[in-house]
Symmetry: C2
Protein backbone atom coordinates (compact mmCIF):
# COMPACT_ATOMS: atom_id res chain seq x y z
CA UNK A 1 0.00 0.00 0.00
CA UNK A 2 1.06 3.52 -0.66
CA UNK A 3 2.16 5.32 2.44
CA UNK A 4 -0.06 8.29 1.55
CA UNK A 5 -3.10 6.04 2.00
CA UNK A 6 -1.91 5.14 5.48
CA UNK A 7 -1.38 8.84 6.18
CA UNK A 8 -4.87 9.59 4.82
CA UNK A 9 -6.36 6.90 7.03
CA UNK A 10 -4.64 8.25 10.12
CA UNK A 11 -6.10 11.68 9.39
CA UNK A 12 -9.58 10.25 8.81
CA UNK A 13 -9.69 8.07 11.91
CA UNK A 14 -10.40 10.56 14.67
CA UNK A 15 -8.99 10.36 18.18
CA UNK A 16 -11.43 8.28 20.17
CA UNK A 17 -12.06 8.09 23.93
CA UNK A 18 -11.95 4.28 23.58
CA UNK A 19 -8.31 4.46 22.44
CA UNK A 20 -6.25 6.06 25.22
CA UNK A 21 -2.95 5.48 23.34
CA UNK A 22 -4.22 6.17 19.83
CA UNK A 23 -2.96 3.94 17.01
CA UNK A 24 0.81 4.30 17.19
CA UNK A 25 1.84 1.00 18.81
CA UNK A 26 2.01 -2.62 17.66
CA UNK A 27 -1.46 -3.17 19.06
CA UNK A 28 -4.23 -0.90 20.27
CA UNK A 29 -5.33 -0.52 23.86
CA UNK A 30 -9.14 -0.39 23.94
CA UNK A 31 -11.10 0.82 26.96
CA UNK A 32 -14.42 -0.87 27.65
CA UNK A 33 -16.85 0.30 30.33
CA UNK A 34 -16.89 -1.87 33.42
CA UNK A 35 -14.18 -3.96 31.87
CA UNK A 36 -11.00 -1.93 31.73
CA UNK A 37 -8.40 -2.10 29.03
CA UNK A 38 -7.92 -4.83 26.47
CA UNK A 39 -5.14 -5.02 23.87
CA UNK A 40 -6.10 -5.90 20.29
CA UNK A 41 -4.17 -6.42 17.08
CA UNK A 42 -4.91 -7.85 13.62
CA UNK A 43 -2.67 -9.20 10.88
CA UNK A 44 -3.77 -10.45 7.51
CA UNK A 45 -1.56 -12.79 5.44
CA UNK A 46 -2.05 -13.34 1.71
CA UNK A 47 -0.84 -16.06 -0.62
CA UNK A 48 1.98 -14.91 -2.87
CA UNK A 49 2.96 -12.01 -0.60
CA UNK A 50 3.42 -13.50 2.86
CA UNK A 51 3.80 -17.13 1.83
CA UNK A 52 3.63 -19.49 -1.10
CA UNK A 53 1.52 -22.59 -0.61
CA UNK A 54 3.93 -24.64 -2.69
CA UNK A 55 6.98 -23.60 -0.68
CA UNK A 56 5.81 -24.29 2.83
CA UNK A 57 3.49 -26.55 4.71
CA UNK A 58 0.04 -25.21 5.44
CA UNK A 59 0.51 -25.90 9.16
CA UNK A 60 3.52 -23.58 9.15
CA UNK A 61 1.44 -20.85 7.50
CA UNK A 62 -1.35 -21.22 10.05
CA UNK A 63 1.20 -21.12 12.84
CA UNK A 64 2.79 -17.98 11.40
CA UNK A 65 -0.55 -16.18 11.07
CA UNK A 66 -1.06 -16.62 14.81
CA UNK A 67 2.57 -16.04 15.77
CA UNK A 68 2.83 -12.60 14.13
CA UNK A 69 -0.16 -11.45 16.17
CA UNK A 70 1.27 -12.88 19.38
CA UNK A 71 4.48 -11.02 18.58
CA UNK A 72 2.47 -7.77 18.43
CA UNK A 73 1.03 -8.56 21.87
CA UNK A 74 4.57 -9.25 23.10
CA UNK A 75 5.66 -5.82 21.88
CA UNK A 76 3.01 -4.34 24.20
CA UNK A 77 3.88 -6.74 27.05
CA UNK A 78 0.31 -8.04 26.92
CA UNK A 79 -0.68 -11.57 27.92
CA UNK A 80 -2.55 -13.44 25.15
CA UNK A 81 -6.22 -14.05 25.88
CA UNK A 82 -8.01 -15.04 22.68
CA UNK A 83 -7.67 -15.37 18.91
CA UNK A 84 -10.19 -14.99 16.10
CA UNK A 85 -9.20 -16.76 12.87
CA UNK A 86 -10.86 -15.89 9.57
CA UNK A 87 -10.03 -17.76 6.39
CA UNK A 88 -10.72 -17.19 2.69
CA UNK A 89 -9.94 -20.62 1.21
CA UNK A 90 -9.57 -21.66 -2.43
CA UNK A 91 -12.56 -23.91 -3.21
CA UNK A 92 -10.54 -26.91 -4.30
CA UNK A 93 -9.40 -28.87 -1.27
CA UNK A 94 -10.69 -26.20 1.08
CA UNK A 95 -11.49 -28.48 4.01
CA UNK A 96 -8.14 -30.28 3.79
CA UNK A 97 -6.28 -26.98 3.66
CA UNK A 98 -8.28 -25.56 6.55
CA UNK A 99 -7.47 -28.57 8.72
CA UNK A 100 -3.80 -28.31 7.85
CA UNK A 101 -3.79 -24.61 8.78
CA UNK A 102 -5.38 -25.41 12.13
CA UNK A 103 -2.73 -28.08 12.69
CA UNK A 104 -0.38 -25.13 13.07
CA UNK A 105 -2.81 -22.73 14.73
CA UNK A 106 -4.10 -24.88 17.59
CA UNK A 107 -0.79 -25.96 19.19
CA UNK A 108 0.54 -22.40 19.24
CA UNK A 109 -2.73 -21.09 20.68
CA UNK A 110 -2.52 -23.79 23.36
CA UNK A 111 1.15 -23.05 24.09
CA UNK A 112 0.29 -19.41 24.78
CA UNK A 113 -3.02 -20.23 26.48
CA UNK A 114 -5.07 -18.21 24.00
CA UNK A 115 -8.66 -19.31 23.43
CA UNK A 116 -9.93 -19.66 19.87
CA UNK A 117 -12.87 -17.26 20.20
CA UNK A 118 -14.34 -17.70 16.75
CA UNK A 119 -13.72 -16.36 13.30
CA UNK A 120 -15.20 -16.96 9.89
CA UNK A 121 -14.36 -19.75 7.44
CA UNK A 122 -15.22 -19.12 3.79
CA UNK A 123 -14.42 -20.56 0.39
CA UNK A 124 -14.05 -18.48 -2.77
CA UNK A 125 -12.47 -18.49 -6.20
CA UNK A 126 -9.32 -16.68 -5.03
CA UNK A 127 -6.16 -17.62 -3.17
CA UNK A 128 -5.63 -18.23 0.52
CA UNK A 129 -6.09 -15.30 2.91
CA UNK A 130 -5.71 -15.67 6.67
CA UNK A 131 -6.82 -12.89 8.97
CA UNK A 132 -6.13 -13.26 12.68
CA UNK A 133 -7.12 -10.95 15.50
CA UNK A 134 -5.47 -11.38 18.89
CA UNK A 135 -6.77 -10.08 22.22
CA UNK A 136 -4.45 -9.59 25.16
CA UNK A 137 -4.67 -8.40 28.72
CA UNK A 138 -2.30 -6.03 30.47
CA UNK A 139 -0.40 -6.76 33.63
CA UNK A 140 -0.31 -4.35 36.56
CA UNK A 141 2.63 -2.64 34.83
CA UNK A 142 0.38 -1.48 31.99
CA UNK A 143 1.34 -1.52 28.33
CA UNK A 144 4.87 -1.31 26.98
CA UNK A 145 4.72 1.51 24.45
CA UNK A 146 6.71 2.79 21.52
CA UNK A 147 6.90 6.36 22.72
CA UNK A 148 8.77 6.05 25.99
CA UNK A 149 12.44 5.89 24.94
CA UNK A 150 14.57 8.74 26.26
CA UNK A 151 17.89 10.11 24.97
CA UNK A 152 20.60 8.25 26.83
CA UNK A 153 18.57 5.02 27.13
CA UNK A 154 20.28 1.85 25.99
CA UNK A 155 18.96 -0.03 22.94
CA UNK A 156 18.51 -3.66 23.93
CA UNK A 157 17.52 -6.51 21.62
CA UNK A 158 16.58 -10.13 22.17
CA UNK A 159 18.04 -12.92 20.02
CA UNK A 160 19.69 -12.36 16.65
CA UNK A 161 18.84 -10.84 13.29
CA UNK A 162 18.93 -11.51 9.57
CA UNK A 163 18.28 -14.39 7.20
CA UNK A 164 14.81 -15.18 8.57
CA UNK A 165 13.80 -16.19 5.05
CA UNK A 166 15.81 -19.40 5.51
CA UNK A 167 13.31 -20.61 8.09
CA UNK A 168 12.88 -18.41 11.14
CA UNK A 169 10.09 -16.37 9.50
CA UNK A 170 7.95 -19.50 9.85
CA UNK A 171 9.34 -21.13 12.97
CA UNK A 172 10.00 -18.17 15.26
CA UNK A 173 8.73 -18.12 18.81
CA UNK A 174 6.84 -14.91 19.59
CA UNK A 175 8.64 -13.25 22.50
CA UNK A 176 5.58 -13.12 24.73
CA UNK A 177 7.13 -14.86 27.72
CA UNK A 178 10.30 -12.80 27.36
CA UNK A 179 8.42 -9.50 27.17
CA UNK A 180 6.27 -10.35 30.20
CA UNK A 181 9.28 -11.49 32.25
CA UNK A 182 11.35 -8.40 31.45
CA UNK A 183 8.42 -5.99 31.88
CA UNK A 184 7.62 -7.48 35.30
CA UNK A 185 11.19 -7.47 36.58
CA UNK A 186 12.75 -4.35 35.07
CA UNK A 187 11.85 -0.77 34.29
CA UNK A 188 11.47 -0.74 30.51
CA UNK A 189 10.83 2.58 28.79
CA UNK A 190 9.67 1.38 25.37
CA UNK A 191 9.40 -1.67 23.13
CA UNK A 192 8.61 -2.83 19.62
CA UNK A 193 8.85 -6.16 17.80
CA UNK A 194 10.95 -6.51 14.66
CA UNK A 195 8.61 -7.49 11.88
CA UNK A 196 9.75 -5.23 9.05
CA UNK A 197 13.49 -4.92 9.74
CA UNK A 198 15.76 -4.11 12.69
CA UNK A 199 16.80 -0.72 11.31
CA UNK A 200 13.28 0.22 10.16
CA UNK A 201 11.49 -0.81 13.36
CA UNK A 202 14.19 0.80 15.52
CA UNK A 203 13.75 4.05 13.57
CA UNK A 204 9.98 3.83 14.14
CA UNK A 205 10.40 3.37 17.89
CA UNK A 206 12.80 6.32 17.99
CA UNK A 207 10.45 8.49 15.93
CA UNK A 208 7.48 7.70 18.23
CA UNK A 209 9.70 8.58 21.19
CA UNK A 210 10.69 11.84 19.48
CA UNK A 211 14.37 11.06 19.65
CA UNK A 212 16.98 9.29 17.54
CA UNK A 213 18.80 5.97 17.75
CA UNK A 214 22.56 5.45 17.39
CA UNK A 215 23.61 1.90 16.63
CA UNK A 216 27.03 0.29 17.08
CA UNK A 217 27.00 -1.92 14.01
CA UNK A 218 29.65 -4.24 15.42
CA UNK A 219 27.42 -4.98 18.40
CA UNK A 220 24.46 -6.24 16.37
CA UNK A 221 23.90 -9.96 16.95
CA UNK A 222 23.89 -11.34 13.41
CA UNK A 223 22.09 -14.65 12.99
CA UNK A 224 24.00 -17.56 11.39
CA UNK A 225 21.23 -17.63 8.75
CA UNK A 226 22.33 -14.17 7.59
CA UNK A 227 25.84 -15.51 6.96
CA UNK A 228 24.36 -18.50 5.15
CA UNK A 229 22.27 -16.20 2.90
CA UNK A 230 25.36 -14.20 1.98
CA UNK A 231 27.28 -17.43 1.30
CA UNK A 232 24.48 -18.53 -1.04
CA UNK A 233 24.30 -15.13 -2.76
CA UNK A 234 27.78 -13.57 -2.55
CA UNK A 235 26.73 -10.68 -4.82
CA UNK A 236 23.85 -9.83 -2.47
CA UNK A 237 23.76 -8.05 0.87
CA UNK A 238 26.35 -8.69 3.56
CA UNK A 239 25.33 -10.56 6.72
CA UNK A 240 25.14 -7.24 8.58
CA UNK A 241 22.92 -5.78 5.87
CA UNK A 242 20.65 -8.80 6.17
CA UNK A 243 20.51 -8.27 9.94
CA UNK A 244 19.57 -4.61 9.53
CA UNK A 245 16.96 -4.98 6.82
CA UNK A 246 15.58 -8.50 6.38
CA UNK A 247 12.76 -8.28 8.89
CA UNK A 248 10.52 -11.07 10.19
CA UNK A 249 13.00 -11.73 12.99
CA UNK A 250 10.19 -11.15 15.49
CA UNK A 251 12.66 -10.26 18.19
CA UNK A 252 12.16 -7.36 20.60
CA UNK A 253 13.83 -3.95 20.64
CA UNK A 254 13.65 -2.40 24.11
CA UNK A 255 14.64 0.90 25.67
CA UNK A 256 15.91 1.08 29.25
CA UNK A 257 17.91 3.58 31.27
CA UNK A 258 21.64 2.75 31.19
CA UNK A 259 21.80 1.46 34.78
CA UNK A 260 18.71 -0.73 34.31
CA UNK A 261 20.08 -1.98 30.99
CA UNK A 262 23.32 -2.89 32.73
CA UNK A 263 21.37 -4.97 35.27
CA UNK A 264 19.51 -6.77 32.50
CA UNK A 265 22.70 -7.45 30.57
CA UNK A 266 24.51 -8.78 33.62
CA UNK A 267 21.62 -10.90 34.84
CA UNK A 268 20.63 -12.20 31.38
CA UNK A 269 17.31 -13.45 32.78
CA UNK A 270 16.04 -15.07 29.58
CA UNK A 271 16.80 -18.32 27.78
CA UNK A 272 17.91 -16.21 24.83
CA UNK A 273 20.64 -13.57 24.86
CA UNK A 274 19.92 -9.88 25.36
CA UNK A 275 22.36 -7.54 23.65
CA UNK A 276 22.96 -3.79 23.82
CA UNK A 277 23.36 -2.44 20.29
CA UNK A 278 23.56 1.28 21.00
CA UNK A 279 21.74 4.14 22.65
CA UNK A 280 18.96 6.61 22.04
CA UNK A 281 20.16 10.14 21.25
CA UNK A 282 18.54 13.59 21.14
CA UNK A 283 19.17 13.97 17.38
CA UNK A 284 16.11 12.63 15.52
CA UNK A 285 16.79 9.88 12.99
CA UNK A 286 18.82 6.70 12.75
CA UNK A 287 22.59 6.79 13.16
CA UNK A 288 25.56 4.53 13.29
CA UNK A 289 28.06 5.28 16.02
CA UNK A 290 31.63 5.14 14.79
CA UNK A 291 34.43 3.78 16.99
CA UNK A 292 35.54 7.37 17.63
CA UNK A 293 32.09 8.26 18.97
CA UNK A 294 30.98 10.33 15.98
CA UNK A 295 27.59 9.66 14.40
CA UNK A 296 26.91 9.03 10.73
CA UNK A 297 23.47 8.79 9.17
CA UNK A 298 22.10 5.27 8.66
CA UNK A 299 19.20 4.65 6.27
CA UNK A 300 16.39 2.57 7.75
CA UNK A 301 15.70 -0.41 5.50
CA UNK A 302 13.08 -3.10 5.56
CA UNK A 303 9.68 -4.20 4.27
CA UNK A 304 8.28 -0.70 3.91
CA UNK A 305 6.45 -1.56 0.70
CA UNK A 306 4.15 -3.90 2.56
CA UNK A 307 2.53 -0.73 3.81
CA UNK A 308 0.98 -2.25 6.86
CA UNK A 309 -1.47 0.12 8.43
CA UNK A 310 0.14 0.27 11.81
CA UNK B 1 -17.23 -24.84 3.52
CA UNK B 2 -18.28 -28.35 4.24
CA UNK B 3 -20.21 -28.67 7.43
CA UNK B 4 -18.02 -31.59 8.51
CA UNK B 5 -15.05 -29.21 8.66
CA UNK B 6 -17.00 -26.95 10.99
CA UNK B 7 -17.89 -29.99 13.09
CA UNK B 8 -14.22 -31.05 13.10
CA UNK B 9 -13.15 -27.61 14.20
CA UNK B 10 -15.66 -27.57 17.05
CA UNK B 11 -14.28 -30.89 18.25
CA UNK B 12 -10.67 -29.67 17.98
CA UNK B 13 -11.20 -26.37 19.76
CA UNK B 14 -11.32 -27.37 23.41
CA UNK B 15 -13.53 -25.74 26.02
CA UNK B 16 -11.53 -22.86 27.44
CA UNK B 17 -11.84 -21.02 30.75
CA UNK B 18 -11.64 -17.75 28.76
CA UNK B 19 -14.90 -18.62 26.96
CA UNK B 20 -17.67 -18.96 29.56
CA UNK B 21 -20.36 -19.44 26.88
CA UNK B 22 -18.31 -21.52 24.45
CA UNK B 23 -18.71 -20.82 20.74
CA UNK B 24 -22.43 -21.26 20.14
CA UNK B 25 -23.63 -17.67 19.86
CA UNK B 26 -23.31 -14.93 17.25
CA UNK B 27 -20.26 -13.63 19.03
CA UNK B 28 -17.98 -14.98 21.75
CA UNK B 29 -17.82 -13.69 25.30
CA UNK B 30 -14.15 -13.56 26.34
CA UNK B 31 -13.06 -13.21 29.96
CA UNK B 32 -9.93 -11.21 30.64
CA UNK B 33 -8.29 -10.96 34.04
CA UNK B 34 -8.86 -7.66 35.78
CA UNK B 35 -11.00 -6.60 32.89
CA UNK B 36 -14.17 -8.66 32.88
CA UNK B 37 -16.03 -9.85 29.84
CA UNK B 38 -15.69 -8.55 26.32
CA UNK B 39 -17.75 -9.66 23.31
CA UNK B 40 -15.89 -10.37 20.04
CA UNK B 41 -16.94 -11.42 16.56
CA UNK B 42 -15.30 -11.60 13.13
CA UNK B 43 -16.73 -11.71 9.63
CA UNK B 44 -14.77 -11.99 6.42
CA UNK B 45 -16.29 -10.91 3.09
CA UNK B 46 -14.87 -12.01 -0.26
CA UNK B 47 -15.30 -10.67 -3.76
CA UNK B 48 -17.54 -12.85 -5.90
CA UNK B 49 -19.22 -14.52 -2.90
CA UNK B 50 -20.44 -11.70 -0.66
CA UNK B 51 -20.35 -8.90 -3.24
CA UNK B 52 -19.34 -8.05 -6.78
CA UNK B 53 -17.24 -4.93 -7.18
CA UNK B 54 -18.96 -4.14 -10.48
CA UNK B 55 -22.46 -4.39 -9.00
CA UNK B 56 -22.14 -2.15 -6.00
CA UNK B 57 -20.22 0.82 -4.78
CA UNK B 58 -17.14 0.15 -2.71
CA UNK B 59 -18.45 2.36 0.09
CA UNK B 60 -21.50 0.11 0.36
CA UNK B 61 -19.24 -2.95 0.63
CA UNK B 62 -17.13 -1.35 3.35
CA UNK B 63 -20.29 -0.37 5.20
CA UNK B 64 -21.66 -3.91 4.94
CA UNK B 65 -18.44 -5.48 6.25
CA UNK B 66 -18.83 -3.42 9.42
CA UNK B 67 -22.62 -3.73 9.62
CA UNK B 68 -22.66 -7.56 9.63
CA UNK B 69 -20.32 -7.52 12.62
CA UNK B 70 -22.41 -4.92 14.45
CA UNK B 71 -25.43 -7.13 13.79
CA UNK B 72 -23.64 -9.99 15.56
CA UNK B 73 -23.04 -7.70 18.54
CA UNK B 74 -26.73 -6.74 18.44
CA UNK B 75 -27.68 -10.42 18.63
CA UNK B 76 -25.77 -10.60 21.93
CA UNK B 77 -27.17 -7.24 23.14
CA UNK B 78 -23.60 -5.94 23.32
CA UNK B 79 -22.69 -2.26 22.90
CA UNK B 80 -20.09 -1.68 20.13
CA UNK B 81 -16.68 -0.60 21.38
CA UNK B 82 -14.11 -1.01 18.62
CA UNK B 83 -13.49 -2.36 15.12
CA UNK B 84 -10.39 -3.80 13.46
CA UNK B 85 -10.46 -3.67 9.65
CA UNK B 86 -8.10 -5.81 7.58
CA UNK B 87 -8.02 -5.56 3.79
CA UNK B 88 -6.48 -7.63 1.01
CA UNK B 89 -6.67 -5.26 -1.95
CA UNK B 90 -6.09 -5.93 -5.65
CA UNK B 91 -2.87 -4.08 -6.58
CA UNK B 92 -4.41 -1.99 -9.34
CA UNK B 93 -6.14 1.02 -7.85
CA UNK B 94 -5.61 -0.25 -4.32
CA UNK B 95 -5.42 3.13 -2.60
CA UNK B 96 -8.52 4.45 -4.38
CA UNK B 97 -10.47 1.32 -3.51
CA UNK B 98 -9.31 1.42 0.10
CA UNK B 99 -10.46 5.03 0.47
CA UNK B 100 -13.83 4.21 -1.05
CA UNK B 101 -14.27 1.29 1.36
CA UNK B 102 -13.50 3.55 4.29
CA UNK B 103 -16.05 6.05 2.97
CA UNK B 104 -18.59 3.42 4.01
CA UNK B 105 -16.78 2.14 7.08
CA UNK B 106 -16.10 5.39 8.95
CA UNK B 107 -19.64 6.88 9.05
CA UNK B 108 -21.14 3.60 10.34
CA UNK B 109 -18.39 3.26 12.96
CA UNK B 110 -19.09 6.84 14.05
CA UNK B 111 -22.86 6.26 14.12
CA UNK B 112 -22.41 3.35 16.51
CA UNK B 113 -19.58 5.02 18.44
CA UNK B 114 -17.10 2.24 17.66
CA UNK B 115 -13.41 3.18 17.56
CA UNK B 116 -11.29 2.03 14.63
CA UNK B 117 -8.67 0.18 16.68
CA UNK B 118 -6.36 -0.85 13.85
CA UNK B 119 -6.22 -3.58 11.29
CA UNK B 120 -3.91 -4.45 8.43
CA UNK B 121 -3.96 -3.05 4.89
CA UNK B 122 -2.29 -5.18 2.21
CA UNK B 123 -2.13 -5.41 -1.56
CA UNK B 124 -1.84 -8.66 -3.47
CA UNK B 125 -2.55 -10.26 -6.84
CA UNK B 126 -5.99 -11.54 -5.80
CA UNK B 127 -9.45 -10.08 -5.37
CA UNK B 128 -10.82 -7.96 -2.56
CA UNK B 129 -11.12 -9.51 0.90
CA UNK B 130 -12.40 -7.55 3.91
CA UNK B 131 -12.03 -8.99 7.38
CA UNK B 132 -13.58 -7.08 10.25
CA UNK B 133 -13.45 -7.87 13.95
CA UNK B 134 -15.85 -6.09 16.30
CA UNK B 135 -15.48 -5.74 20.06
CA UNK B 136 -18.45 -5.04 22.26
CA UNK B 137 -19.20 -4.55 25.94
CA UNK B 138 -22.05 -6.03 27.90
CA UNK B 139 -24.62 -4.13 29.87
CA UNK B 140 -25.54 -5.03 33.44
CA UNK B 141 -28.08 -7.48 31.97
CA UNK B 142 -25.26 -9.62 30.57
CA UNK B 143 -25.31 -11.25 27.14
CA UNK B 144 -28.42 -12.22 25.21
CA UNK B 145 -27.81 -15.84 24.27
CA UNK B 146 -29.10 -18.39 21.81
CA UNK B 147 -29.81 -21.07 24.36
CA UNK B 148 -32.40 -19.48 26.63
CA UNK B 149 -35.67 -20.01 24.75
CA UNK B 150 -38.23 -22.10 26.61
CA UNK B 151 -41.20 -24.06 25.29
CA UNK B 152 -44.18 -21.74 25.44
CA UNK B 153 -42.10 -18.60 24.77
CA UNK B 154 -43.30 -16.35 21.99
CA UNK B 155 -41.17 -15.92 18.86
CA UNK B 156 -40.77 -12.19 18.22
CA UNK B 157 -39.09 -10.59 15.22
CA UNK B 158 -38.11 -7.03 14.34
CA UNK B 159 -38.83 -5.54 10.92
CA UNK B 160 -39.65 -7.61 7.85
CA UNK B 161 -38.09 -10.39 5.80
CA UNK B 162 -37.24 -11.43 2.24
CA UNK B 163 -35.87 -9.83 -0.90
CA UNK B 164 -32.80 -8.32 0.78
CA UNK B 165 -30.90 -8.90 -2.47
CA UNK B 166 -32.78 -5.93 -3.94
CA UNK B 167 -30.91 -3.58 -1.63
CA UNK B 168 -31.35 -4.21 2.08
CA UNK B 169 -28.38 -6.61 2.21
CA UNK B 170 -26.20 -3.51 1.68
CA UNK B 171 -28.21 -0.76 3.33
CA UNK B 172 -29.59 -2.46 6.45
CA UNK B 173 -29.22 -0.88 9.86
CA UNK B 174 -27.75 -3.33 12.37
CA UNK B 175 -30.29 -3.66 15.19
CA UNK B 176 -27.89 -2.61 17.93
CA UNK B 177 -30.02 0.17 19.40
CA UNK B 178 -33.12 -2.02 19.20
CA UNK B 179 -31.45 -4.97 20.95
CA UNK B 180 -30.04 -2.77 23.72
CA UNK B 181 -33.39 -1.01 24.28
CA UNK B 182 -35.38 -4.26 24.43
CA UNK B 183 -32.78 -6.07 26.56
CA UNK B 184 -32.76 -3.20 29.06
CA UNK B 185 -36.54 -2.86 29.34
CA UNK B 186 -37.87 -6.40 29.00
CA UNK B 187 -37.01 -9.91 30.10
CA UNK B 188 -35.71 -11.55 26.92
CA UNK B 189 -34.87 -15.26 27.03
CA UNK B 190 -32.83 -15.60 23.81
CA UNK B 191 -31.86 -13.82 20.62
CA UNK B 192 -30.16 -14.26 17.25
CA UNK B 193 -29.77 -12.07 14.17
CA UNK B 194 -31.02 -13.26 10.79
CA UNK B 195 -28.01 -13.45 8.49
CA UNK B 196 -28.57 -16.78 6.76
CA UNK B 197 -32.39 -16.97 6.60
CA UNK B 198 -35.35 -16.55 8.96
CA UNK B 199 -36.21 -20.24 8.99
CA UNK B 200 -32.58 -21.39 9.25
CA UNK B 201 -31.56 -18.97 12.01
CA UNK B 202 -34.78 -19.64 13.94
CA UNK B 203 -34.08 -23.38 13.77
CA UNK B 204 -30.55 -22.71 15.08
CA UNK B 205 -31.83 -20.70 18.02
CA UNK B 206 -34.35 -23.43 18.82
CA UNK B 207 -31.70 -26.15 18.55
CA UNK B 208 -29.34 -24.28 20.91
CA UNK B 209 -32.26 -23.90 23.33
CA UNK B 210 -33.00 -27.63 23.01
CA UNK B 211 -36.55 -27.05 21.93
CA UNK B 212 -38.48 -26.54 18.71
CA UNK B 213 -40.10 -23.57 17.01
CA UNK B 214 -43.63 -23.47 15.56
CA UNK B 215 -44.27 -20.66 13.09
CA UNK B 216 -47.59 -19.22 11.94
CA UNK B 217 -46.69 -18.57 8.33
CA UNK B 218 -49.46 -16.00 7.90
CA UNK B 219 -47.98 -13.93 10.71
CA UNK B 220 -44.54 -13.51 9.11
CA UNK B 221 -43.93 -9.88 8.12
CA UNK B 222 -42.97 -10.19 4.45
CA UNK B 223 -40.94 -7.29 3.09
CA UNK B 224 -42.23 -5.47 -0.03
CA UNK B 225 -38.91 -6.40 -1.66
CA UNK B 226 -39.90 -10.09 -1.44
CA UNK B 227 -43.07 -9.36 -3.43
CA UNK B 228 -41.03 -7.37 -5.93
CA UNK B 229 -38.58 -10.27 -6.37
CA UNK B 230 -41.47 -12.65 -7.06
CA UNK B 231 -42.96 -10.17 -9.51
CA UNK B 232 -39.61 -10.05 -11.33
CA UNK B 233 -39.25 -13.84 -11.31
CA UNK B 234 -42.75 -15.35 -11.29
CA UNK B 235 -41.36 -18.86 -11.73
CA UNK B 236 -39.17 -18.43 -8.65
CA UNK B 237 -39.99 -18.59 -4.95
CA UNK B 238 -43.13 -16.99 -3.52
CA UNK B 239 -42.81 -13.88 -1.35
CA UNK B 240 -43.26 -16.05 1.76
CA UNK B 241 -40.53 -18.41 0.58
CA UNK B 242 -38.22 -15.44 0.10
CA UNK B 243 -39.03 -14.27 3.62
CA UNK B 244 -38.25 -17.69 5.08
CA UNK B 245 -35.03 -18.39 3.19
CA UNK B 246 -33.38 -15.33 1.61
CA UNK B 247 -31.26 -14.28 4.56
CA UNK B 248 -29.26 -11.08 5.01
CA UNK B 249 -32.31 -9.40 6.56
CA UNK B 250 -30.21 -8.68 9.66
CA UNK B 251 -33.33 -8.43 11.79
CA UNK B 252 -33.58 -9.97 15.27
CA UNK B 253 -35.41 -13.10 16.39
CA UNK B 254 -36.17 -12.97 20.11
CA UNK B 255 -37.70 -15.30 22.67
CA UNK B 256 -39.82 -14.00 25.55
CA UNK B 257 -42.39 -15.47 27.89
CA UNK B 258 -45.95 -14.96 26.56
CA UNK B 259 -46.88 -12.25 29.07
CA UNK B 260 -43.66 -10.32 28.45
CA UNK B 261 -44.10 -10.72 24.69
CA UNK B 262 -47.63 -9.32 25.03
CA UNK B 263 -46.24 -6.23 26.80
CA UNK B 264 -43.65 -5.73 24.07
CA UNK B 265 -46.23 -6.13 21.31
CA UNK B 266 -48.66 -3.70 22.95
CA UNK B 267 -46.02 -1.11 23.78
CA UNK B 268 -44.16 -1.39 20.43
CA UNK B 269 -41.22 0.52 21.94
CA UNK B 270 -39.11 0.66 18.76
CA UNK B 271 -39.20 2.76 15.59
CA UNK B 272 -39.69 -0.49 13.67
CA UNK B 273 -42.50 -3.00 14.20
CA UNK B 274 -42.13 -6.05 16.42
CA UNK B 275 -44.22 -9.04 15.37
CA UNK B 276 -45.04 -12.36 17.01
CA UNK B 277 -44.65 -15.14 14.44
CA UNK B 278 -45.23 -18.19 16.63
CA UNK B 279 -44.03 -19.96 19.73
CA UNK B 280 -41.34 -22.28 20.95
CA UNK B 281 -42.50 -25.86 21.51
CA UNK B 282 -41.11 -28.92 23.31
CA UNK B 283 -40.83 -30.92 20.06
CA UNK B 284 -37.35 -30.37 18.62
CA UNK B 285 -37.22 -29.04 15.07
CA UNK B 286 -38.93 -26.40 12.97
CA UNK B 287 -42.71 -26.51 12.46
CA UNK B 288 -45.49 -24.59 10.86
CA UNK B 289 -48.63 -24.23 12.93
CA UNK B 290 -51.77 -24.83 10.93
CA UNK B 291 -54.96 -22.80 11.56
CA UNK B 292 -56.40 -25.83 13.43
CA UNK B 293 -53.43 -25.83 15.82
CA UNK B 294 -51.73 -28.95 14.42
CA UNK B 295 -48.00 -28.83 13.59
CA UNK B 296 -46.39 -29.80 10.26
CA UNK B 297 -42.68 -30.08 9.65
CA UNK B 298 -41.04 -27.06 8.01
CA UNK B 299 -37.63 -27.39 6.37
CA UNK B 300 -35.14 -24.72 7.44
CA UNK B 301 -33.77 -22.98 4.35
CA UNK B 302 -31.08 -20.39 3.86
CA UNK B 303 -27.47 -19.76 3.07
CA UNK B 304 -26.19 -22.96 4.63
CA UNK B 305 -23.58 -23.44 1.93
CA UNK B 306 -21.73 -20.37 3.05
CA UNK B 307 -20.63 -22.58 5.90
CA UNK B 308 -19.73 -19.79 8.25
CA UNK B 309 -17.92 -21.12 11.23
CA UNK B 310 -20.34 -19.92 13.80
Amino acid sequence: MESDFIAWLRRCVPAHPRLPLGLRDDAAVVSATGCGDIVVTSDLLTEGVDFRLHDCQAAAIGRKAVAVNLSDLAAMAARPVALLVSLALPRTGAATLARALYDGILPLAAEFEAAIAGGDTNTWDGGLVISVTALGELTARGPLRRDGAQPGDSILVTGSFGGSLLGKHLTFTPRVREALALHARYELHAGIDVSDGLSLDLSRLAAESQCGAAVKLAAIPVDPAAFELTRQQPAGPSPLEHALADGEDFELILAAAPGEAQRILQQQPLDIPITCIGRFVPQRGLWQENPDGTLAELTPRGWQHRGREK
